[in-house]
């Protein structure tokens, strides 16, 4: 089945771009302002730079495993149990992040648009979109990304461009915000956790048309994601000075609400909701697809479609567990920001290193065995 699916580099980049950058329309700019103060925009750039370096290390280690996904690599590194453990860990990661993001989108919708609609009803609407996306499969999801991401990105940059009259460079001062000590003391890993969804590149790779473009896709996607997160955060911080920048629930929505050109061009946020819903549907359907894909691969199942509905029900149920928005945000801060990088950035490096080492020792053994055989043949 996986052999039939082929995805181009552009589609893959769009998918990664949305998977990582969706957070710029949620609370990312506000969160960065909270732990870095006025220096939030610099921290975003620093995060992109660090993740790029880590990816270059991953890419170097990965070269020997071209065309294999992270589960194949884990199998090579730690055998069948390793594959299952890695699969379970990654499913756990996605099963925390996808319901959390689903709930966050639902709550945001409730605050700004569907105020009286029950939370579960909005969540079900999102789940239906997720299920359809996952049923259509990775190829369709990637192609829809290729179509939607340029439109969403254009609308996003339009909102930022229209906010330019509200920018004030003084809002970025004092330049180093809360100071490097405070920023890195408790949040050193937050910075790279923001890019944790980059793990999907290690899941998509078997489906790539040109597998040798893995490195380039990763590099350009990280740079593009960094640019989007950076421009979104910078625009927000140029408009709202610290500490007001930590107050708003939906930073970019607030930014779009303040856009006004004369009496005729107002209420641009209506367009923003469309961008927002598109990005949410794309992220959630990709998330559900990757959960079922990992489960199928980790447990060596023949089909993954029967898993879609049960996992969708799980995602819906998990998303309804937090009692309120504050708890949802707490999950985000305590799990995602602190530990996501371990599973999505550090784990691939560890697995790739072990697999490389084992590969090397296996090759050495093979060479030694061949040498012995040659010697014994010569003796005979």
């Amino acid at each position: 089945m996986s052999q039939k699916i082929k995805i181009g580099s552009y589609e893959t980049s769009c998918l990664i771009l949305n998977m990582v950058s969706y957070k710029v329309i949620l609370m990312y700019p506000r969160n960065v302002a909270e732990y870095a103060g006025n220096a939030g925009w610099m921290v975003t750039l620093l995060g992109a730079f660090l993740v790029l370096i880590l990816f270059l290390i991953q890419n170097k280690l990965y070269k020997k495993f071209s065309g294999q996904d992270i589960l194949d690599v884990s199998e090579k590194a730690l055998g069948e149990p390793g594959k299952i453990i890695t699969g379970v860990l990654l499913i756990a990661y996605f099963l925390i992040i996808v319901p959390e993001i689903l709930r966050e989108f639902v709550e945001d919708f409730k605050v700004i648009s569907l105020t009286t609609t029950p939370t579960s009803f909005i969540a079900i609407l999102f789940c239906v979109g997720m299920i359809i996306g996952a049923y259509l499969g990775l190829e369709s999801i990637a192609r829809i990304h290729a179509l939607a991401v340029p439109v969403v990105a254009t609308a996003f940059f339009l909102v930022l461009a229209l906010s330019i009259p509200k920018f004030d460079i003084n809002n970025l001062a004092p330049w180093l915000g809360l100071g490097p000590k405070k920023i890195f003391e408790n949040n050193a890993f937050n910075i790279i956790s923001s890019y944790s969804e980059i793990i999907v590149i290690f899941l998509i790779v078997p489906f790539l048309k040109k597998k040798n473009e893995f490195g380039a896709i990763g590099r350009y996607s990280i740079i593009a994601c960094g640019f989007i997160l950076f421009t979104g955060t910078l625009s927000y911080m140029l408009t709202y000075q610290y500490p007001i920048s930590t107050e708003y629930f939906l930073p970019l929505y607030t930014l779009s609400r303040s856009i006004r050109f004369s009496r005729f061009f107002t209420r641009i946020e209506s367009a923003f909701i469309l961008i927002w819903a598109s990005s949410a549907f794309l992220f959630l359907s990709s998330g559900l697809y990757f959960i079922v894909y990992i489960f199928q691969k980790a447990f060596s199942l023949k089909y993954n479609k029967p898993l879609i509905l049960p996992f969708a029900v799980l995602i819906f149920t998990f998303s309804m567990i937090p009692e309120n928005v504050s708890l949802t945000m707490q999950i985000h801060m305590e799990f995602y920001r602190q530990y996501a990088w371990i599973l999505t950035i550090l784990l691939p490096i560890i697995l790739l290193s072990i697999a490389s080492a084992r590969n090397k020792s296996a090759k050495n053994k093979e060479i030694k065995l061949n040498d012995k055989k040659k010697i014994s043949l010569n003796k005979n």
Binding site: G37, N38, V111, I112, S113, L114, T115, T116, T117, P118, F121, L125, V128, D168, I169, N170, A173, P174, W175, L176, G177, L178, G179, Y240, Q241, Y242, P243, I244, E247, T254, R257, S258, R260, R263, T266
Partner: protein
């Protein structure tokens, strides 16, 4: 196989239609006629610590449908209620009118001076939290009561009450006598560590005939340098007789969330110039006679606008901030009461120099008033100083608002007269006829 395909298509179509119906919003559907739109809200202090909330509603059918003009008198209706909180009051109003009050089209929120002096922080938090209040809604301070202001508002020259309020609140860019204060800007400056808030000053004129003007002029505080100037008034004290008695002039000055004082129209103009908010202004200066202001009440009228953005630089001299402000205005001569020909050569330069010096004095008086009387950096001079700090904690510990009280001002103002209107020379008739 074909039958299975057609069944799948039918399922897909049914599913899509069901989704379309669901996504139209069964829960959140709302008919426009079930809502009542607030054009303006007034908040006063009520009895027993309650708030007196006045809402001015739009009556769409009276505003006019299509090209048909509506009836000005019936375009709005007002309701006043007392409750401990704004939303408590709104709930009572919903009960009384049987419709859902909606603020998404409200144009201005008016808070009484009495409440503003106690602090507007809690109101700003209310407006900030609720999605129906838009960031671009204007905020004004009523010198009397907000209820009275709304009651006396009769937009005789504009059928649409929402547009009337918008035009009124945006007029600062062509008059220079009020300021543009929106909820968002007000909140941002209120929370800012380097700037303070201002809001338009609103009131109702009490005078009934032009005979009462003299009393008004006696009431108006006038300093010698701008004696007789047209902007030396505050809202409610403007020498004008008009069907609409509600008006705005000057601005309310805040320190943190509390109102600490008022400034008149002319001082508000200075604020707009320093803050780069001026569109253009019709500005009259008394004519001079050998360097001193003449007593014969002759004026030169100019249309001024900013030639360059004003620049603010702050340097610390020990514990004293030295604030350097450079202003560059340009304009046209509109009229000259006297006989002197200011249109070319030395006279033109003399006029430019005099206008610049006159403006400089007004700016210095204005800035000193913000420092000594109000202790409030409304022009945001602290923003440039903030740029010299690296860490937030250092900046907070610096306490700019305390430092501003000791500030010294170095102001330079340049006025450049670009055009002289339709004439390039003034030939006094009196000189030719020997009078």
């Amino acid at each position: 196989m074909i039958r299975r395909k057609s069944l799948l298509t039918k399922i897909k179509i049914t599913f899509s239609i069901t989704m379309l119906l669901l996504s139209t919003g069964c829960y959140d559907h709302v008919e426009v006629d079930e809502l009542v739109y607030v054009v303006s809200m007034g908040i006063d202090s009520g009895v027993n610590g309650n708030l007196r909330i006045s809402l001015l509603f739009a009556i769409p059918i009276s505003i006019g449908v299509g090209p048909e003009p509506g009836e000005v008198d019936k375009a709005t209706t007002m309701i006043t209620v007392e409750a401990p909180t704004i939303y408590g009051g709104v709930n009572i109003i919903n009960t009384v009118i049987g419709k859902d009050v909606n603020f998404s089209h409200s144009k201005v929120i008016i808070i009484s001076k009495e409440l503003a002096e106690k602090g507007v922080g809690k109101f700003m938090n209310t407006f900030n939290k609720y999605r129906e209040f838009r960031p671009n809604t204007f905020i004004g301070i009523a010198r009397g009561t907000a209820e009275e202001f709304l009651k006396e508002t009769k937009p005789v020259l504009e059928v649409n009450p929402a547009k009337y309020f918008e035009l009124l609140m945006e007029s600062y860019s062509i008059t220079g006598f009020t300021t543009g204060s929106t909820l968002e800007e007000f909140y941002k400056t209120m929370e800012c560590t380097c700037m303070e808030s201002v809001a338009v000053l609103l009131d109702v004129n009490k005078i009934e005939s032009s005979d009462e003007f003299e009393g008004l002029f006696k009431k108006t505080q006038i300093n010698k340098s701008n004696e007789g100037s047209e902007g030396n008034h505050k809202a409610g004290e403007i020498p004008v007789i008009f069907d609409n008695k509600a008006n705005g002039m000057g601005m309310a000055i805040f320190r943190a969330d509390k109102m600490v004082g008022e400034m008149n129209g002319r001082e508000t103009l200075c604020y707009l110039v320093v803050s780069n908010m001026l569109g253009h202004v019709l500005y009259s200066i008394p004519e001079t006679d050998n360097g001193s202001i003449s007593d014969d009440g002759k004026f030169i009228s100019l249309r001024l606008k900013q030639a360059r953005k004003s620049t603010i630089n702050v340097k610390m001299n020990g514990d004293v901030p030295v604030i350097n402000i450079k202003i560059f205005l340009e304009g046209d001569i509109l009229s000259i009461d006297g006989d002197k020909n200011y249109f070319e050569g030395e006279e033109l330069k003399e006029l430019e120099k005099y206008a610049g010096e006159y403006m400089r004095n007004e700016l210095v008086n204005f800035l000193e008033k913000t420092r000594s009387e109000f202790k409030s950096d409304i022009c945001g001079t602290g923003r440039t100083l903030k740029r010299t700090f690296l860490f937030w904690d250092e900046w907070l510990a610096f306490r700019w608002s305390d430092k501003y009280e000791k500030a010294e001002f170095e102001v330079s103002a340049k006025v450049s007269v670009r055009r002289t209107g339709m004439t390039i020379k003034q030939v006094p008739a009196a000189n030719m006829k020997g009078e």
